[in-house]
């Protein structure tokens, strides 16, 4: 190339000689522009790949009247993957999805415990862990009474295990 030492790049008038030559500067601009364009492409693709509308079941549901559940019982709501537990103190709703890896647990009335089929975790009916690899107890969902006297469970809202709904 012609720029091999003998012909120095013409300096702009009055400018101090700096460490960055014009070529270096243009290279940096080009690399920066490519980087910004690449980053923009990644962000746009990420936004595109995250769906805005999901066709998934509603997280809130009605669980029928309190009379459906006898005292001291655990009822598994198949469609909602929730246990409705009624004790003498009142109602609470326990998630049936194992906190380990999302398998659906099963209520074993004989052993009086909730068992996960995937990796052998076992829970009491209040969601506390007896054994197994599950890292957390089963969460409790918010349970309320609607105006027309039905139980209403909101799976988006978890509550403390001590909260029960008195009817």
């Amino acid at each position: 190339m012609s720029e091999s030492g003998k012909s120095p790049a013409p300096k702009p008038l009055g400018a101090q000689p700096t460490g960055t030559s014009r070529r270096d500067f243009l290279n940096e601009v080009a690399v920066g522009a490519l980087g910004i364009a690449g980053l923009g492409a990644v962000v746009i693709t990420y936004r595109y790949l995250s769906p805005n509308v999901l066709f998934e079941p509603s997280p809130t549901f009605r669980a029928g009247g309190p009379d459906l559940y006898p005292v001291n019982s655990v009822t598994y709501l198949h469609e909602q993957q929730v246990y409705i537990v009624r004790t003498e103190q009142g109602f609470y709703a326990v998630s049936a999805v194992c906190t380990h890896l999302g398998c659906i647990t099963q209520w074993k009335p004989d052993a009086n415990q909730i068992a996960c089929p995937c990796h052998g975790s076992k829970f009491r009916s209040d969601g506390t862990k007896i054994e197994g690899p599950a890292p957390r107890p089963l969460p409790h969902f918010s349970i309320t009474l609607t105006a027309d006297g039905e139980l209403m469970v909101n799976k988006l809202e978890t509550v403390k295990p001590s909260q029960t709904l008195r009817v």
């Binding site: 398998c103 089929p117 890292p135």
Partner: protein, 236 residues
């Protein structure tokens, strides 16, 4: 200004008049490749023939099995009903067995990531490229390091009650300890064991544990991931 090259890039078709540059031969070799070893054969036909025979044998075996064996197909997927036991594809059952003992972050993320990273960095560790045997030098120090590692591993696995990891680890560790006491000049098999480098032992330990975990996950785990004996007919 331009330095004139001392070769001509010929454009004519007369090879004698206008020789074309095909390759430079420099004195230094750029590639890190050693000279050829031993006699050489032409790939065509010797390699191609062998490869095509291998391909044909493989296809025949595959077709024969595919005619006799049916790919599994269960009921339609039901998000509300977890089968018991729910098992991953067989090559992930070792991982699932680990998930039975350790929290998901450890067994599902950290251990696989470490394994992959270990596999990637294997060739970049320049230590012991020659494959020096573990017991060739510094025997006492190597034995101390090995024993303390083994004890730490056993304690860690015992805390998590990971017996199916512990058992194969102890087996390989025992073999390694056995190789320490071997005298030079024994039978070929013993001599082989005695002269293994540490990388060989680590890889053998990894393979043994993976195979045992996969077999246990496939054949010895029943409902609720409890231990079953395959001949009792719980599995499949």
């Amino acid at each position: 200004m331009e330095k004139k090259n001392n070769y001509e890039a010929g454009l004519g078709s007369d090879a004698v008049k206008n020789p074309q540059r095909i390759v430079f031969i420099t004195k230094k070799t750029s590639a890190k490749v050693k000279g050829d070893v031993g006699p050489q054969w032409m790939s065509y036909p010797h390699l191609l023939l062998r490869e095509s025979v291998a391909f044909q044998i493989m296809v025949i075996v595959l077709v024969a099995i595919a005619l006799l064996w049916d790919a599994p197909l269960e009921q339609l997927a039901d998000p509300l009903l977890t089968p018991n036991p729910a098992k991953a594809p067989w090559y992930f059952l070792g991982l699932q067995e680990l998930l039975h003992y350790f929290p998901p972050l450890v067994a599902g993320i950290i251990i696989p990531t470490l394994v992959v990273l270990a596999l990637i960095v294997i060739p970049y560790f320049d230590v012991n490229v020659q494959g020096e045997p573990l017991w060739a030098a510094n025997r006492a120090r190597h034995l101390r390091i090995f024993l303390s590692t083994l004890v730490a591993l056993v304690i860690l696995l015992a805390i998590f009650r990971a017996w199916t990891v512990l058992a194969p680890s102890l087996a390989v560790g025992g073999l390694l300890l056995f190789s320490f006491f071997l005298k030079p000049g024994g039978r070929p098999r013993m001599e082989f064991l005695r002269t293994r480098p540490v990388s060989w032992w680590v890889m053998t330990w990894f393979i043994t544990v993976s195979v045992v975990l996969t077999l246990v996950g496939t054949f010895f785990r029943g409902p609720g991931w409890s231990w079953v004996w395959p001949w009792r007919g719980h599995v499949f």
